[in-house]
Symmetry: C2
């Protein structure tokens, strides 16, 4: 998302500026703290599409009334391992981090905590919540459905969102194993980037208005599911898994029924979107036990990172490795911020 | 897997013949009943690689001592939502179906049941267990790790198995939504089939001994993860999810450490493989409630099946649709059985 004009800023400065902007838009301290944390996670690991650039969007929605400035979260425990969190239509990050806390509390006793979230809104990067669980020592799964943007396999219209599946696992003495993947091959932002740069898209990742695969970013009207022209039924089904857990199980909004995220021309920015998410937390102590689990994760990752490398590649990486390296770089050199966002944040 | 020589046999005949073969090999009635059920599931939905053709393999392993003929399952409840099932080294199907039962029992109270399985063995198609939960009204996830056969992204050696992720959800008045996907693009059987037919493989699904992508089935030494040359890091990470839940959480065997499934020349068929699996069951009644959940699944599937179709395609299908159609066909016309298996079963 950031071009050459992007300037780098220290993390602490961004934290302060993003918080100030959300505070200025009226968000409560508790809800804005969660949003800052999630946006900074994304910005640090290099997922700029879900990073601090969303501050302006969230401020617009706080102003428009879609987002409740002072949400009062409600936790409804449904069983020893299950609960629903009602986000009261505030910033989605607030409800999602709360769901991780609730799930951990349940898992400590039940061994597993499954928490649905309703009356929420955009939560940023789903990986932030998988990570939050793993940082506290739990295997964690987080997912959400999102605005329709990806064709079905053999379909000719947007159906699912880019519906992420995020998993994380604690690793003794190290950053967690972390997977945060869209169930499309690429994000819509990549199409927009290629459009602005006049670059062809890779084959099998986007389609024109009739669902025909295209490499022309100008013609691309929708994304194709992971797996491409031949195996895209798998990616489409995985997008369905996100919808199953996030919307169907929680009784919230289907991908195609969302009021568009950005409202659009004449769009609605005052009605809450009733977005759903889902978080699952598992306590290794109720299974192999934390020691054996930790030893096995460590051995698994060592063997993965030490695997023979194919000609032309540099090395084999574990999920998260690229992100943790980017985080280290950005903690040292600062986080690149695009000019529009820098202006909005008063940087 | 079946060529033109495959003959079709009625389901009831196969059930009886497969049971008789396993009984002849010494398997207890309880353990063989589970294996028959799982193999017939696979054979009916068209997954012949995991269907009745495995009968001979299981009989060999019962005879060799790898499989315990009379396993005594042990259930160890670890918390209100968690348990471990010890398969006592018997047929994996027996332990896996038991885990579904245990998970459902836990979920009825806790809202969720997470059950790890240890000291198990090959369980056939993971979808059989996701389906078993969905048929009783629960959203179900089942996974296992398997023998190394798939390269890592940028890797040059077999690392993960084809590690399936299976999800199923109940649909009111209809067959369940069912996804049972390998995290490679194709199964190894496809390579063998193309090899015997002298047909090129699709691009990006297999690699030669140095990890170079190849379409030559003779040169193919390993599979590539879902996502192919550009996005295979997603498929590799999903294979890691299967290993995370099945092996790391349960403290069982890593993909690369399995004694080879078929033993091979001079191979070991007497030592148990300590294979792990994982089953998760969620009760919709503790979330949206069964009525709302059912109504939403129904609406979601209607909208999916009614989605606009791209030129050249016939229709859009939901996960499971192809399988249920194949099942209806095979229930009527019989199940095709390859000549070797037919001979073994005395058909």
């Amino acid at each position: 998302m950031q071009g050459n004009q992007a300037q780098r800023f220290p993390v602490a400065v961004l934290e302060q500026k993003v918080a100030a902007a959300l505070r200025g838009a009226g968000a409560s301290e508790a809800s804005l703290a969660a949003a800052v944390r999630a946006m900074l996670h994304a910005s640090l690991v290099g997922v700029d599409s879900h990073g601090v650039r969303l501050t302006e969007h969230y401020c617009t929605m706080l102003g428009g009334g879609r987002l409740n400035k002072n949400p009062q979260l409600k936790v409804d425990v449904r069983g020893p391992g299950s609960a629903m969190v009602n986000g009261d239509d505030g910033l989605g990050h607030y409800a999602a981090y709360k769901a991780v806390d609730v799930a951990i509390e349940l898992a400590l006793e039940a061994g597993v905590g499954a928490v649905g979230i309703e009356h929420s809104s955009h939560l940023g990067a789903a990986g932030a919540y998988a990570l939050a669980g793993a940082e506290r020592g739990f295997v964690t799964f987080a997912t959400t459905n999102t605005d329709s943007m990806v064709a079905l396999f053999d379909g000719a219209a947007r159906f699912h969102g880019t519906n992420p599946l995020a998993f994380a696992a604690p690793v003794p003495g190290s950053k967690p194993w972390l997977l945060d993947m869209a169930t499309s091959s690429i994000p819509m932002n990549r199409v927009l980037l290629h459009r602005s740069l006049g670059l062809e898209l890779p084959a099998g990742v986007a389609a024109d208005k009739d669902g025909r695969a295209t490499t022309d970013p100008q013609a691309a009207e929708m994304l194709l599911p992971l797996g491409g022209a031949e195996y895209g039924y798998k990616g489409a089904a995985l997008a369905g898994v996100a919808t199953l857990f996030s919307a169907l199980l929680t009784g919230t909004t289907l991908d195609a029924d969302f009021i568009p995220m950005y409202g659009g021309p004449g769009g609605d920015i005052s009605t809450p979107r009733n977005m759903g998410h889902f978080v699952l937390v598992i306590d290794p102590d109720k299974f192999a036990g934390r020691d054996l689990f930790g030893a096995m994760v460590t051995r698994y990752l060592a063997s993965l990172r030490g695997a023979p490398v194919r000609e032309g590649a540099e090395r084999v990486m574990a999920p998260g490795d690229r992100e943790w390296e980017e985080m280290a770089r950005r903690q040292q050199d600062g986080v690149p911020v695009d000019p529009d966002t820098a202006r909005f944040l008063g940087l």
